[in-house]
Every structure is written in structure tokens, then in C-alpha cells.
């Protein structure tokens, strides 16, 4: 961390491309790692374990074709009033703007098809909210063996054809629809059950980081005249 303090942030990408890339992805306010716990972390640790060995090296036989996988948690959730045996919640997933080097190869919602309550349980499935288009849902394969008690709904076509073309802020709205199996009274327990991490979005990218065109560098340095010198330096070095 001290080394980073010694170099102006704008210079780091020039001097250490990897550090520059990692700094772009590092949380600015460096949250404590324990902020990430529970189902999302378990899910991604299982994915990691299946795709990389204990030294962190990708396995020869990758379990999926992508070299970058992002687990996105819902930014908002709304529980609808129960209707008969149906308990429905809508989740909002903000989609980051696609960076040139990220090519989306697969998108899926991972969810728990079975939620246990104190005296009952709910059977759940997911679908895009207000899904009216003729795009087929499902299909595709996660490639890796899902952790126990998890299922996936493939939304690759839907996101590529319905959500990505949207202008401005792109948000995927998903409905988690759960039906109670027994006819017992369940009170408000269902709210808590749905409020926990029951569903999140998993995006698979092929990231072509190596071949990022140099033109991104000027944007990083353009505000800084000294940076312009550095830019010429960078060019000479190359």
C-alpha cells in the first residue's frame, strides 16, 4: 500500500499495467472481506475450486469456456403481497457497462429452488419480470457442478437481445416465484426466507485484457499535463 502512495494513481497504469488493471477493480473504500459471506461466497468458492488448483493455476480441463465470471447481487428487492399459495419477490440487477474487452458468453440466474420455512417449505422458480418476448429461456449449461440445493436459469439470449441493447442504465428485473406446498399457516416467515440471498446473477465473460488497444491510456492521463510527458515516455518505451 505504501508503494502505491508513493506513485500518483494516474501514473500506476503506465508503470505497472497489472496493478493498473487490479486497481480499477479494487474497491475504493477497501471493504472488509467478511462483508462477502454466505451463499454468494460459497457459490463462487465452489466455482473457483472446480476451475483452479490449490496453487491458483487454472486447471487444464476448464469446466467452462469463460476466463472471467462475475456474481452480481441484487441492488433492490420488492416482495409482493402473497396471493393464495404464491409468494413473489422482484429483484433488480444493475448491469455494468460492457467494457470493450469483456465479451459476454453466458448469463444465468442462480437460485434456490427449495426454501425451507419453520413448518413448511416453498418451491421456487425464477423468470424475467414482465417477460413478454418470444425469446426462449433456459437451456445452456453452467459447465461446473452447481453447489447442492442450487439451480440455474440460463438468460443469455434474453440479456443479449432484451437488456444489453437498452440505452442508459441497464437493469435486469427478475421475479422469484415461490409456491407453498403444504396448506399450513406460515405467517411472515416467508419474507425472511425470500430476503436472504435466494437468487443472484452470474455473468460469464471472455476477457481479452492482453489485447486492449493503447488508446485507453490517453484517457487515463489526459487531465494531467505531466501525464502527457509520461505518455510520450510510454510510447518511447514501447
Amino acid at each position: 500500500a505504501h508503494a502505491q502512495d508513493a506513485v500518483a494513481p494516474a501514473q500506476v497504469p503506465t508503470l505497472l499495467p497489472l496493478l493498473g488493471a487490479l486497481l480499477q477493480e479494487a474497491p475504493r473504500n477497501s471493504p472488509r472481506r467478511q462483508l462477502t459471506r454466505g451463499h454468494p461466497l460459497q457459490y463462487m468458492l465452489e466455482l473457483y475450486r472446480q476451475n483452479a488448483d490449490q496453487h491458483g493455476r487454472p486447471r487444464e480441463k476448464r469446466v467452462f469456456r469463460a476466463n472471467t465470471v462475475r456474481l452480481v447481487r441484487p441492488a433492490g428487492r420488492r416482495a409482493l403481497p402473497p396471493r393464495g399459495p404464491w409468494y413473489v419477490q422482484t429483484l433488480d440487477f444493475p448491469l455494468q457497462p460492457n467494457r470493450d474487452m469483456d465479451h459476454l458468453v453466458r448469463a444465468a440466474v442462480a437460485y434456490r429452488p427449495r426454501l425451507r420455512l419453520s413448518h413448511s417449505h416453498l418451491s421456487c422458480h425464477v423468470e424475467p419480470w414482465a417477460h413478454k418476448s418470444t425469446i426462449l429461456l433456459g437451456g445452456g449449461s453452467p459447465g461446473f457442478a452447481l453447489p447442492e440445493a442450487w439451480a440455474e436459469m440460463d438468460l443469455t439470449n434474453y440479456i443479449q437481445q432484451q437488456v444489453q441493447p437498452q440505452k442508459g442504465r441497464r437493469v435486469l428485473h427478475i421475479q422469484v416465484r415461490c409456491q407453498q406446498q403444504e396448506r399450513t399457516e406460515i405467517g411472515l416467515g416467508w419474507r425472511q426466507a425470500l430476503a436472504t440471498d435466494t437468487a443472484f446473477l452470474v455473468l460469464y465473460f471472455n476477457n481479452t485484457f492482453k489485447s486492449v488497444p493503447r488508446m485507453e491510456l490517453p484517457e487515463l492521463l489526459v487531465g494531467d499535463p505531466e501525464g502527457a510527458d509520461l505518455l510520450s515516455l510510454a510510447r518511447r518505451v514501447r
Binding site: 500500500a1 497489472l18 487490479l22 477493480e25 479494487a26 474497491p27 475504493r28 477497501s30 471493504p31 472488509r32 472481506r33 462483508l35 462477502t36 454468494p40 461466497l41 463462487m44 468458492l45 466455482l47 473457483y48 476451475n51 483452479a52 490449490q54 496453487h55 491458483g56 493455476r57 487454472p58 476466463n67 472471467t68 465470471v69 462475475r70 456474481l71 452480481v72 447481487r73 444493475p94 455494468q96 476477457n207 485484457f209 492482453k210
Partner: protein, 120 residues
Amino acid sequence: QVGPVRSEAPGQSLEQTQCSLHPFQVSFHQLGWENWIIAPHLYSPNYCKGACPRVLHSGLRSPNHAIIQNLINELVDRSIPRPSCVPYKYMPISVLLIEASGSILYKEYEDMIAQSCTCR
């Protein structure tokens, strides 16, 4: 004529001083990144170190330019440096990290582990 090959440091065998791969392991904790890198804990970037001998044997896989640069240093201009001992091949590593948005990201970073060395 290629002259006799001298060992760079008296008392050290040629093998020890010649350009070669050296294992090296760090933890992301040592790099101060443990707050946002979840896995792996340990990382072995390794490094290359050693002299580039005048006679670059085929094991080093040096480009012809390195041979010429050696000759220029020896026969024409001492201020031209001899070839350096640098990584030749790399391997990627997979990292699990937390993004600024709180998402969890699995990413494969290319060229993160030095697998072999060369003089160039």
C-alpha cells in the same frame, strides 16, 4: 573463435551464476491485497536471475539479437549492456476477488507466473 567460458564469480559454479529460474512465493497478505483478493492465498510468481554467458547455449532459447548484443558489448562498445536474464514463458493464475460494486469476480490473469528464463 569462442574463448574459454569463465565463471562470473570466483568460487561459484557456473550453474549457480547462470541465468535461471528461481522459485519465489508471496501471500496476497504481504502485498496488502488480502482485503479484496479471496483466493488464492499464496502466489508463486518466481523470478529470473543470473549472468548471461557470452556463449548463449540453446537451453536459454535466446534470440540471435542477444548473441549480437553480447559481441557488441565485448568487441565494440562496453557501454552497451549485455543481454538481461528475463522470464521466457509465463503461466496464468485464477483469482477470486471482490469488486468495488460488491460483486464477486473470478478472473484468469495471463502471464502471472514465470515458468522459464532467457537472456535477451
